[in-house]
Subunit: 343 residues, 2 copies
């Protein structure tokens, strides 16, 4: 069992055809891997999908390790002219407007190719995870939960903990899906934060936002711990957990992602907290992907639910889990205990 | 002693003024850090440099840890409208055409702002390293050379070695500046390569291309080892080393980077090897930066010299060192022995 590459490509090819484009040019390494299975080294590469012929990967000649795949042919380029040769037969091309530089876009436009923003369509198939993909995501989650289980916190500095996590993740043969956020005490009032030299005390809120990548798929989970919480810390933690549970209960097939966001807004308001960020994001081969604003929740989607409360000059708390939509209901993929005083 | 932030900003401000632009909008996190000193978490940020007032960093409201700097003010944005408010006073702006998405570029253009490609000017001050920068680069090189000194090769798999390097780098409190390339035996015939499960034997060429980041500055060094080389392996290694030494001798102030490239081409030709990639690249806060094709070699520049020979179905060899141009001559920054049979 493995990824359904031909199914994915067939779906994308159908979307290109429906959109009345001659072809699509795909530039994000993750998308190219998703559709063809190729692992890239970081050199520039483009996938050309044209409903009438076999997909073609144009790849920098520095990546001379690459061999033709079952799913796609490979041609090497050393300069822009080599790319032009393969695409100047097209009049209209869909492209990833967020993952294409202004420079490259202007060069393609100058060739007389009509360039149509197509990112949202390129990303659409990735929204729906099959059983094999869910298995990979679960591996990433399991590894992350091991870290929550074993990490020592009190007496360490924030940076001690990130170093420990980095080593542990590598020891498991994996990589971080993003740099760990370890925010303690007053630093936990920051949403995104660069871990520093602050030493953690028993009464500190400690936000741990971590994720790994397993076989191409990401986890992204947050726990907040505090060994000896005050009444106020207990209250805030309980409120955040209550928002999370209610949002998860309301994440059902047919509900708009915006409606879920609005629902969470009302919960924050009712409890008199400021809402500082969105309630979650799709996740898969990227830490952030569709579904996003404008999408409707459907079976097969995987996304995070991560309410957070941040109080200036005091501290904050975030709880983030990953859910899968199955039979039109939310099912928790991450099952690590949400217990404030665990560590 | 630290980075000369105000000097850097003054220089950039002067370039903006000379270029008859109202302002420049800078989007690369490394550039923003170079000019202002701010460390970013990965959230979107823009630096606006206008010769008439204090630089302004626009930063995602998720990065609410950020505080005003000596060098720049900070304003948070939550959507595009917040960015517009700060820049719609400008008629002509320089922008980084490679590091700006087509989407963002088109949105700015739609506002009626004349957007001028300005990347090469934004990157210009970074080409010339002062003493403090050379110190940081030397730290990164020293750490990399420790790895070459201690790494065990024969009997390990390529992936064993990358895991060992990853752990070692983290243990030194540093990060890789790119994923290590460990290419052994026949895999050493690939320029860029993803390390695999191949077990290394005493007669294998093993290319190790590794780099770390220390205090923001990168190293990028390559050694090729072979415990029991054949005559042919010794010959190829000797030839690559000879190309490297001759190129370094010819890297002098006033010489064009293109001329140096041409010089190396002739050396490959004379020895009857195929030239597979360029002879080197500027390095500093990014692994690849100016000087590039079109630049002239000047004092203060730091770049790699990395000839490589790759023979299909046989193997390959690359030697990469970093040099600094001082008193119009090349000076090796990396001093680790270039001895094929060392490991």
């Amino acid at each position: 069992m493995g990824p359904d590459l031909s199914g994915r490509l067939k779906e994308l090819s159908g979307i290109v055809k429906e959109s009345e484009l001659d072809a699509a040019i795909i530039s994000s390494p993750r998308d190219i891997e998703y559709y063809t299975g190729i692992k890239l080294t970081g050199d520039a590469a483009f996938l050309i999908v044209n409903p009438k012929s076999k997909p073609l990967i144009l790849i920098s000649c520095l990546s001379n390790y690459a061999r033709n795949l079952k799913t796609a042919s490979i041609k090497f380029f050393s300069d822009f002219k080599d790319i032009v040769k393969e695409i100047d037969c097209y009049k209209t091309m869909g492209f990833d407007e967020k993952n294409t530089s202004a420079e490259f876009f202007l060069r393609l436009k100058k060739l007389g190719i009509k360039m149509k923003p197509f990112r949202s369509s390129i990303k659409k198939p990735r929204m729906f995870k099959d059983d094999w993909e869910i298995m990979q995501i679960k591996k990433a989650i399991k590894a992350t939960e091991k870290i929550f289980k074993d990490v020592k916190i009190v007496g360490k500095t924030e940076q001690d903990i990130t170093t420990w996590i980095d080593r542990r993740v590598i020891g498991m043969g994996l990589r971080n899906s993003f740099d760990p956020i370890i925010a303690s005490g007053i630093n936990s009032s920051y949403i995104h934060y660069l871990p520093g030299k602050r030493k953690i005390k028993a009464g500190d809120f400690v936000i741990m936002d971590i994720g790994v990548r397993a076989n191409g798929y990401c986890s992204d989970l947050t726990r907040t711990f505090c060994r000896r919480p005050s009444k106020r810390q207990e209250k805030v933690y309980g409120d955040v957990l209550s928002i999370q549970k209610q949002v998860i209960d309301n994440a059902r097939g047919g509900v708009g992602f915006d409606a879920l966001e609005d629902f969470s807004k009302k919960l924050y308001e009712k409890m008199d907290y400021q809402r500082m960020h969105s309630i979650g994001h799709g996740i898969g081969m990227s830490v952030h992907e569709r579904p996003v604003t404008g999408d409707t929740i459907k079976n097969g989607m995987v996304f995070t639910v991560e309410p957070g409360v941040y109080i200036k000059n005091w501290g904050g708390c975030r709880i983030e889990d990953m859910i899968q939509i199955k039979n039109n209901k939310a099912r928790l993929l991450s099952t690590f205990t949400r217990d404030l005083t665990l560590r």
